[in-house]
Symmetry: C2
Subunit: 154 residues, 2 copies
């Protein structure tokens, strides 16, 4: 029988070494936490993925920007944001036009339809956050978000 919590393994030599327990590695637990969040999101906001919603919400917040700039703001590289924008454009939620001064750039903006959708979904999005954090008390939530942010920002 092994005790619960942190486990150790006694090696042949008699030394005790940290056992590698996958279930205890941050990376693994982060992935599972993400999975749970994704599933909560999908249950409440079925017609948009989190990256798509993030892009729309950010556009709503800052107004028109170039594709790459938007990507930076929502933490997606150029290739990823392109795919997201393409799919939003195909659904008529965003509009693209060339930048006036810089001919390399593509300016993305919310369409009327996109603006209405984001605004309708903002309250739902807040509930997704709430439901995700539901297992924690308010105090724990504050601590958790502080530490998670520290971790995310390195």
């Amino acid at each position: 029988m092994r005790a619960p919590g942190k486990t150790f393994q006694v090696l042949p030599g008699g030394r005790a070494a940290d056992a590698y327990d996958l279930q205890e590695q941050v990376g693994f637990i982060l992935r599972k936490a993400n999975q749970r969040h994704l599933s909560i999101f999908a249950a409440r906001i079925s017609d948009l993925t989190p990256p798509q919603f993030a892009a729309l919400a950010k556009l709503h917040e800052v107004g028109a920007t170039s594709q790459n700039q938007l990507g930076q703001m929502v933490a997606m590289d150029a290739a990823t944001i392109k795919g997201v924008i393409d799919r939003l454009k195909a659904r008529g939620l965003v509009e693209l036009e060339p930048h006036g001064k810089d001919r390399r750039r593509l300016v993305v903006s919310l369409s009327e339809k996109g603006r209405e959708l984001v605004e309708a979904l903002l309250p739902e999005a807040l509930e997704v956050t709430e439901e995700t954090l539901a297992p924690l008390t308010p105090r724990e939530t504050a601590t958790f978000l502080r530490l998670l942010t520290k971790l995310a920002e390195g």
Copy 2:
């Protein structure tokens, strides 16, 4: 100027409502934390992805199992684990054989080469965890892992 920390927005009616700040939503920060971890992992263990390593490490821990069972243990659905196993098999790191009693099942096991690779990488994997958690003090780390686990498990 907006004050740092939790922000509020004054709506036309004069009511104050929670503003939706993408950068404060758990889902978004979780995604960024994951990105940082992924990049640390890739820098140290370049020839295996985290899902691939997770599958190998779990196999090393529990021995041969069926594909789906392994998938459950590493939190991947049937379609996902299949792809991971296929790629590991193509590299000769795992072996597949039909289950003796249940003809639906496919038993996966570590090859000799796979076993050697996992064992060589286990210390590296621990360092990935350490480096990921480096922004936190030991005390914060303990708290964080406790809360993250609570969140991941719902």
